[in-house]
Amino acid sequence: EAGVAQSPRYKIIEKRQSVAFWCNPISGHATLYWYQQILGQGPKLLIQFQNNGVVDDSQLPKDRFSAERLKGVDSTLKIQPAKLEDSAVYLCASSSRAGGHEQFFGPGTRLTVL
């Protein structure tokens, strides 16, 4: 079974630029999560999708972050414009059902904002 795929693996941009991350979850997984992990901290949930609907986006900085999951499969997370404090690893995870606590994580995208 293929795992969660993310791209790119690394991205370096300058502040005020835009960036997008892509995630393809495990086939058949209805729930998809985006996390932000700043160095030395644990992952922080940004947004949770159930199929193509948003379940929870209470910690998503909506003035600059947006995410979508068209057709309930893969998802993109965008930052526009980026700030220095957005430097982090962005993790995508999926689970097989709503309330499915065991999440399968992708390798992450390491973003550096200069």
């Binding site: 969660v4 999560y33 996390y35 030395g40 901290q41 644990g42 992952p43 922080k44 949930l45 949770q48 379940v55 929870d56 993790l91 995870a93 709503a98 309330g99 606590h101 065991e102 999440q103 399968f104 994580f105 992708g106 390798p107 992450g108």
Partner: protein
């Protein structure tokens, strides 16, 4: 507000001995707790979990203990192996969303 806390950033243990990783939480609404293991440059992988209706769950060398009155859980690894060296994250959820992770404990198992 850090709702899940791992107060020990690092832990070193001799191979074959017991590793005990601790986690505290503040939200009494949490009903499910998980431990994840993370190697460098990889995403976290699920290790073991426990529901709030239980106080112990065991899977091979890994056992998780939950003390609801103290809002504390711990992960025991017996015996510890060098391949267990990784960062361990404690996580908690309330219902089907609101997942919160601790800051992680870096475990080093010395051969």
């Amino acid at each position: 507000d850090q709702q899940v806390k791992q107060n020990s950033p690092s832990l070193s243990v001799q191979e074959g001995r017991i590793s005990i990783l601790n986690c505290d939480y503040t939200n009494s609404m949490f009903d499910y707790f998980l431990w994840y293991k993370k190697y460098p440059a990889e995403g976290p992988t699920f290790l073991i979990s426990i529901s709030s209706i239980k106080d112990k769950n065991e899977d091979g060398r890994f056992t998780v203990f939950l003390n609801k009155s103290a809002k504390h859980l711990s992960l025991h690894i017996v015996p510890s192996q060098p391949g267990d060296s990784a960062v361990y994250f404690c996580a908690a959820s309330a219902g089907s969303n609101q997942f919160y992770f601790g800051t992680g404990t870096s475990l080093t198992v010395i051969p």
